[in-house]
Amino acid sequence: MHNILESEKPIVELENKLVELKNFASENNVDLTDEIRILSKKVEKMKQDVYKNLTPWEKVKLARLQERPTSSDYIKKLIESFIEFHGDRFYGDDNSIIGGIGIFAFPANSREGIPITVIGHQKGKDTNENIKRNFGMPHPEGYRKALRLMKQAEKFKRPVLTLIDTPGAYCGLGAEERGQGEAIALNLIEMSRLRTPIISIVIGEGGSGGALGIGVGDRICMLENSVYSVISPEGLSSILWKDITLAQKAADVMKLTAQDLLSLGIIDNIIKEPLGGAHKDIDFVTDNIRKYVSGELKELMKLDMEQLLDKRYNKIRKIGIWA
């Protein structure tokens, strides 16, 4: 276990104690049922207290946790016969965005499914994979691959599901030379008028334009402990206070949690995670995603195309607060 939150430490300690107590009871054949029950209750209460009251900064850390399920983890569980497709047909293949087609299975008891195009940012599970995936930070090729697959989905009348999980679009020489801004801009305009339903889910980090580049759709929602922001807390603290170490303070003022975005009218829904985060029980999260996407897709597919596009336009159109 690495990468645990500071506030989780007492829970982990108590859980370890509980295990010791259970072991002691069975090894020595003594009855500690009452003690175990009391301690279990205490752990449960502590979990409720800690996990229900995570600070924005703790959510940032949770969203970035190495153990947190990635796009490919969800795709494996959500999509039957997923086939990944590569390349933007212009320059190369960007491993920080994956995409392909498969069958999205509706909730288990319905035995229904629908062909779907899935596109997601992809982070690595370890250092080696992270290097291959560029830590989930796409170059223009990633956005162009995504757009190619979305246009393909439009042609073959498949809905599109996008999974957002990126620190941001990559900032480097090649990315600039090959038009990082142009690639993202084109996705924004094309997604706003793509003639097929689009559902976007922020599963981890929603890092600025790099997230939005695959994040325009008929429904936008976030996993409970994911974050979505215009810049990273580190970036903000460096710009505003010239001090990268004030990231925690920055996170507090940025309004970047799923709850914040729901109250700002930017997202449609929050998908529940188990106590402690998605990595504690990915099946629980997958089920919730499946239920949500099924319900929304069925609604969206009932609309005729002009209705769908009008609603999507109006949804984006109304975002903003002024007097």
């Binding site: 679009a169 990559y170 900032c171 480097g172 020489l173 990315a175 600039e176 030379e177 090959r178 038009g179 990082q180 801004g181 142009e182 993202i184 801009a185 084109l186 924004l188 305009i189 094309e190 706003s192 008028r193 929603g206 600025s208 334009g209 939005l212 580049g213 994040g215 325009v216 979505y228 922001s229 215009v230 810049i231 970036g235 903000l236 710009i239 505003l240 003022v253 940025m254 309004k255 970047l256 975005l261 700002l264 930017i266 999507r312 336009y313 984006i316 159109r317 975002i319 903003g320 607060i321 002024w322 007097a323």
Partner: protein, 278 residues
């Protein structure tokens, strides 16, 4: 007259005639509204320093024809962000504007258009809810009136103090441009110094025609951020207008003194052509 003759055709044909020296006659611009070089600030070594949005409007739009839109939209502190309102107050003082973009309609050499000009002296032209809303409304007005849209960009990107609301203005303005495009209407982006971040990643790069001023900084990530990421100095000229043109992202680099003439020529050719512009 020409337009009446050909307006029903899907594709326009234009009558040209040749001068005595057998060259195809080109239109000359003679009633160019004089804006003082002082305002345009281009006299020194042909450099193109940042200029106030109001001066820019005056340098492009025919005198007395500009009608400003949406001057009543007021920025509020939606996220309770520290010091935001104080920064807005200072920005208003520095720029003499209420927000970081001026929008409206006017004529360029007699031709109608919708124009949006970003104000670099207002929090570095950053886009929050009001800027996004004003630009979106201007684009929607262009659809209603069937005018071309010209946006002069000068912005560091999305405004941090409005968080993800600012980010979403990128999607909003782009979606509006999508509708404008579906209507067959023209959008010209004119990129001036600086054009970075969320502006580059939205409407700056979506022009049917993309013009840039000489030497303008244009990029997604700012130079300082890139240098921090790659831990080396950037090459000379990187992310400048000329570099962008070389890499294929800018149609034409236009000197500030010629900007009105070039925009006018483009609008003229568009006014002649095709059923959408008839």
């Amino acid at each position: 007259m020409l337009r009446d003759l050909f307006s029903r055709k899907k594709y326009a044909t234009v009558l040209l005639y040749k001068d005595d020296d057998n060259k195809v006659r080109t239109v000359t611009i003679d009633n160019f509204q004089k804006v003082s070089e002082d305002k345009l600030k281009v006299s020194i070594k042909n450099s193109h320093p940042r200029i106030a949005a109001r001066d820019r409007v005056n340098s492009i739009i025919d005198k007395g024809t500009f009608v400003e839109y949406d001057t009543n939209l007021k920025t509020i502190d939606a996220l309770s962000f520290p010091d935001y309102m104080e920064k807005i107050r200072i920005a208003m003082e520095n720029s003499n504007e209420k927000e970081a973009v001026i929008t409206g309609e006017g004529k360029i050499m007699g031709r109608d258009c919708i124009i949006c000009v970003m104000e670099p002296n207002f929090m570095m032209g950053s886009m929050g809810s009001v800027v996004g809303e004003k630009i979106t409304r201007a684009i929607e007005k262009a659809i209603e009136k069937r005018f071309s849209v010209i946006i002069f960009t000068a912005s560091g990107g999305a405004r941090m103090q409005e968080g993800v609301l600012s980010l979403m203005q990128m999607a909003k303005t782009s979606a509006a441009l999508g509708r404008l495009s579906e209507e067959g209407l023209l959008y010209i982006a004119v990129l001036t110094d600086p054009t970075t971040g969320g502006i580059t990643a939205s409407f700056a790069m979506l022009g049917d025609i993309i013009i840039a001023e000489p030497g303008a900084l244009i990029g997604f990530a700012g130079p300082r951020v890139i240098e921090q990421t790659i831990k080396q100095k950037l090459p000379e000229g990187f992310q400048r207008a000329e570099f962008l043109q070389k890499k294929g992202f800018v149609d034409k680099i236009v000197h500030r003194k010629n900007m009105k003439a070039v925009l006018s020529e483009i609008l003229k050719i568009h006014a002649l052509g095709g059923e959408n512009n008839a």
